[in-house]
Amino acid sequence: MMGSVSEQMRRRLWSFIGCLVLALVAFGCGRSGRATKSYRVAVIPKGTSHEFWKSIHAGALKAARELSGEGVQVTVDWKGPLREDDREQQIQVVENFISQGVDGIVLAPLDDRALVRPVEEARRAGIPTVIIDSALASEAIVSFVATDNFKGGELAAERLGSLLQGKGKVLLLRYQEGSASTHEREEGFIKRLKERYPAIELISSDQYAGPTRDTAKRAAENLLNRYGEQIQGIFCPNESSTAGMLLALQDIGKAGHVFFVGFDATESLIEALRNKQLHGLVVQNPFNMGYLGVRTMVRYLRGEPVEKRIDTGVMLITLENLSTAEAQALLHPPLDEYLR
């Protein structure tokens, strides 16, 4: 019996050694790195399925194309976490890019603390990081290229306040725990509402929509079930929470009967704006964010000075200004031109 066990062990050991030998042979045959001087920039979003991230991707590719036209070869490696809301998965993506030895990383961190370690490890490995979209609690970064989210929240509060003429009950459905950008929007909204419209009551502000439209819709349904008859106004701080809330309102036939201000824009949300189911959308400029993110990274890599904080702009879009050139440029970034 013992003989057969050790026989088994021996076979396993041999196959392990075989594996090592193969690995070493392959290692020895390896061709060595790139010859021409070019920059390889990794762009890491929080997820890949939202239209928001596709705009960032297109903007990043536009920057790369422009730079190539100027004689600086830039390739963009686009990779999001396998599970969209999972910090561990995003850390792994950053680590794997460190291992590949990219020249720079442009990162939209899922968490302002959890991504600090890999970003600092990247810097120790000589790879600089530009943070986009959401803040990172670290000094080890080149620049922070993002929307002024607090201001975005304030714009939403102004819109709801004036629509409600300074009175009534409103509801805030938060996005997700630990997301810095949406947290700032929520705080900006709450602060401006309290300051300018003290007669408006914020009836619920402690519920979270979660990562997807589906989780947002469920959270919205539960909230509307409880407060639906009392409220006159709603604010949601990002695309998925706005979309989920809109779906829930449509299901119970209340869409258009409450003032609803959302954040970020997609085709379905613009449609809702036209149908007067939405009364305002605070819109960021993700295309510009991706564009400036890569631009800033390359500037830094070429030894040019960069700003520590770069604002990419916000705008309130309503039915009235929907057809202006400024709004259209924000709402319809040229995705098709860059994403194949």
Binding site: M1, S4, V5, E7, Q8, R11, R12, S15, F16, G18, C19, L22, A23, A26, F27, C29, G30, R31, S32, G33, T48, D77, K79, G80, L82, R83, D85, D86, R87, E88, I91, Q92, V93, E95, N96, F97, I98, S99, Q100, G101, D111, R113, A114, V116, R117, P118, E121, R124, Q176, E177, G178, Y208
Partner: protein, 343 residues
């Protein structure tokens, strides 16, 4: 596996002398399948890669090792459970909960070792509760642990007040760091710890009376009971011991994130189960090895790393891992057919 396996090894060596090539290959394939998979993955990415030296560089291997730790430690526990004929779906939630417990302890100013111990014991407690629900309330493991999947996740969010729990700088943060501060260690302390624990548990499972009973339980519960084994307490001990490993995985997860995150590791139980199945375990129990499970965990991390290096989108690696899981089960099936034919 072992009781039957040793018999079948003897049988197979007899068979070797009389049976022709293909069946010998098939048997051999079953035994070293996970290793073949590992070599295959390494070879494929090495050949496809524009920069194979980078893929096989010590630096990249260290990154892969650090990324494997959580799944590997979880797979040690899951191997025990699957060998005993059970299943545990609450691993991801247990990792989140024990990570939060550890982080709360650290934030409250406990000694790091006490906080880590609390996290590990919390995992053990979850496991014991699973075991008691399964044995005393007679709920099948799938349902009992599905319930725990929800409950533990909820408790984690409640304890953490629906936020991430940030922790002060302690040595716990260095446990699963990719590049350890002490260069001579090469791998992170967590990687060495995982390897040591894997070796110890493999020895216990293979050689101790307890280990033999776990195999007996998984092979045929009625027979094990008839042989006088206290099946109820044995099962509870399996889930409890496995829970300690899930607790340790939670500590590692907290160390990697430097925070207790109640929303982390959703679906990790499926990665852990996949690692164990790729490693040659059978979900019908009585079969599996710690070594195989470790190789299974490594295969998945190498795949993820390799797919990213190739610039393939995420869905490609999801499809590949799915296919490999099924392939592993097919290899297992072939082995069974062969064995039945021999006996």
């Amino acid at each position: 596996m072992e009781e039957r396996d040793e018999i079948s090894v003897v049988a197979s060596e007899e068979a070797l002398t009389r049976v022709s090539g293909p069946s010998w290959v098939r048997l051999w394939l079953g035994r070293v399948g996970p290793f073949l998979g590992l070599i295959f993955v390494l070879l494929v990415f090495t050949l496809l890669s524009a920069d194979p030296a980078q893929y096989l560089s010590p630096r990249n291997l260290r990154i892969v090792a650090a990324q494997t730790v959580i799944i590997a430690v979880g797979a040690i526990g899951m191997t025990l459970i699957i060998v005993s004929g059970g299943i545990d779906l609450s691993v991801g939630s247990a990792i989140a909960l024990t990570g939060v417990v550890t982080a709360l302890g650290l934030r409250a100013g406990w000694a790091p070792s006490v906080a880590v111990l609390a996290g590990v014991l919390a995992g053990g407690l979850i496991g014991v509760i699973n075991g008691l629900v399964i044995t005393r309330l007679r709920v099948i493991p799938f349902i009992a642990t599905l319930g725990m999947l929800g409950a533990a996740r909820g408790i984690a969010k409640w304890l953490a007040a629906q936020q991430t729990v940030n922790v002060p700088e302690t040595w716990v943060n260095e446990l699963a760091v990719t590049f350890p501060a002490r260069r001579w260690m090469f791998f992170a302390p967590g990687v060495w710890l995982a390897l040591a624990l894997a070796a110890i548990v493999a020895a216990i499972l293979r050689n101790s009376v307890w280990g033999r009973r776990v195999f007996a339980l998984g092979s045929n519960e009625a027979a094990a009971r008839a042989c006088g084994i206290d099946v109820e307490n044995l099962k509870t001990s399996v889930y409890g011991l496995a829970g300690l490993f899930f607790g340790l995985a939670g500590v590692m997860q907290m160390s990697r994130l430097r925070q207790g995150d109640p929303t982390v590791a959703v679906g990790t139980e499926l990665d852990v189960i996949a690692a164990v199945v790729i490693g040659g375990a059978s979900l019908s129990g009585g079969e599996g090895s710690i070594l195989g499970s470790m190789v299974g965990a490594l295969i998945m991390a190498l795949l993820r790393n390799g797919c990213q290096q190739m610039g393939w989108p995420n869905y490609v690696q999801e499809i590949i891992i799915g296919a490999i899981i099924v392939l592993a089960a097919v290899v297992d099936r072939l082995r069974h057919v062969r064995r039945l034919a021999e006996t």
